[in-house]
Amino acid sequence: MWALRVVIVCVAAIIVAAGAFFFLAWRSEIPEDASAAEATFAPELVGKGAQLAALGNCIACHTVPGKPAFSGGLGVPTPFGTIYSTNITPDRETGIGGWSEEAFQRAMNEGVDRRGSHLYPAFPYDHFTHVSAEDNRALYAFLMTRPAVKAEAPQNDLQFPLTYRPLLAAWKLAFFDRGELEPDTSQSEAWTRGRYLAEGLGHCGACHTPRNAFGAEDRDQYFGGGEAEGWQAYAINKDSKAPIPWDEQSLAFYLRNGWHEFHGVSRGPMTEVTGNLSGLPDSDIMAIATYVTSIMGDPTPERGQRAAQLREQFEGDYFEQAADSQSSPVSASGGSPGEAIYVAACASCHEGQRRQPFGGLNFDLSTAVNAPNPQNIVNVVLFGLPPADGEASAVMPAFRHLLSDQQVADVLTYMRERFSEEQPWAGLVELIANTRSGAHKVTIRPSDGIERAPHNVGAEEG
């Protein structure tokens, strides 16, 4: 009798818990809006939406290179499996053609699709939830006026139980702060605007903040450095390793132009970001720079001193001269195999007198050489920086056919020792081998951010 009562109580508890969970997880379907795709919008609204979509870099995940813009299907690798981006063109069957604005607003706000299913946080709604209803309206207008493309995204490749979407409600409970950002009245208008752009659509933290075991951003290490498409997204908080610390001016210049003379050129997935930001007004770019540098804080006195020396060395007018590979500006002391290769193959550009973005960055200024993880510099040595189409751009030849894994490791070991005070990198040869073989997959983009393989996707397409 007693046992039976326990069982009944347990079963009841389970039912109540399950009920509560379903209540929590349940989102209703928003009915299909048959005329949504035919709606017309004011051109200014669509134009504003285009800018916002560029800020959000929507095209990067929602387009397979070579396929029509925004038609989805790109595999986004996560530690939990591959998630395929959805078609966000206004096709009624396979895209968002049947979505009312309300459904779109809810997806951005809550990470729930029109039918009421929870979305995986590969779609960064933890950021997009901060976007204002007004901006979402413009984005909606922009997306609903793109050409409709019929394209079904492949099934996600996830392990059970992750395939069970109601579980995401629990994830959201633990890690998702819904809604607009709390106002901070102690800050300037520019800072507030910058935070809105960077934290919201810009979703900087999605790459630049490390993630915890559940794939959520670790807010305790805000902007502490993360990973994207086989590249390291550098720390952009107080742990930034830039030898000359970023300031508002240099960061704004970099975001505007994709390079800065003290920091070099953007590359990897960041080229898409800097490429896309070109649609934003200067004031917004400056606002982002204001906010992000406020997170970096003031450099320590030692960093400041070192930076002052470097500035003196690299600032101002100097006679710009293209060295060529016959005359290396430095000579080898015969110290190490890496030095010999560096002097013969790298120094002519990297210690030449040619300015950014066309000359090689002097490694005294390089964040890559000082980074805790050598992945980015390995990527660039092996795959180079391919030229952009039809415009002058930074170019670096790929060295993968020239240097063996050991030779690349030798060069990098030498460079780390010469240009950085940090500890030597461990495990270089293995990392290089895995990067070369593709076991560690790296996306290679030229400086205009348009991925090279298999075809170009123009950010303007569509």
Binding site: A322, S325, A340, V343, A344, A345, S348, C349, V395, M396
Partner: protein, 166 residues
């Protein structure tokens, strides 16, 4: 320092500073003037040669790194009397204007065709991204490379036969 290298199937011994770019060794020491000097900075592609089957920019290759590796230059693709299929196709379609970029273009194409006898247009363009032509004969160059692919298939030449002359 004495360095041994294999160019177009023949072994050579040169006595140079090990940091000397391969391009200079080819032109100055081996009198193989096909590969051209354009920029000396790895940006134009006119110095392209094939090393162990892959296109590399010889102005960026310190000769110390080529010990024991197989190098093919444009001279290895054929002779004036007996042009190889790539050369034949470039002549047939008159793909050269001034011709300065052409040896580099052909070597990039050679590496591509060895790997992929029937490349798509996109693949050809991709393989030639590091080769500039200031005369602007790009469309003919593309056509010539497609043609070379056909010629190779027709003759079913062993494309993988690195370093053969003729």
């Amino acid at each position: 320092m004495s360095i041994s290298l294999t160019v177009n199937g023949s072994p050579h011994q040169v006595d140079v500073d090990p940091a000397t770019p391969l391009l200079y060794v080819l032109r100055d020491d081996l009198a193989l003037n096909g590969a051209k000097y354009g920029c000396g900075l790895g940006q134009c592609g006119s110095c392209t040669v094939v090393m162990d089957g892959e296109a590399v920019l010889s102005c960026m290759v310190p000769v110390m790194l080529v010990e024991g590796r197989e190098i093919t230059t444009i001279e290895g693709l054929g002779t004036i009397d007996e042009p190889g299929p790539l050369q034949q196709a470039f002549i047939e379609l008159q793909a050269a204007q001034c011709g300065y970029c052409i040896p580099g273009m052909m070597m990039s194409a050679h590496a591509l065709l060895r790997r992929k006898p029937r490349p798509s247009d996109a693949e050809i363009r991709e393989a030639l991204t590091t080769n500039l032509c200031r005369c602007g004969t790009h469309m003919r160059i593309l056509a010539a490379i497609r043609r070379a692919g056909e010629l190779m298939q027709a003759a079913s030449l062993p494309e993988a036969d690195e370093g053969r002359a003729g």
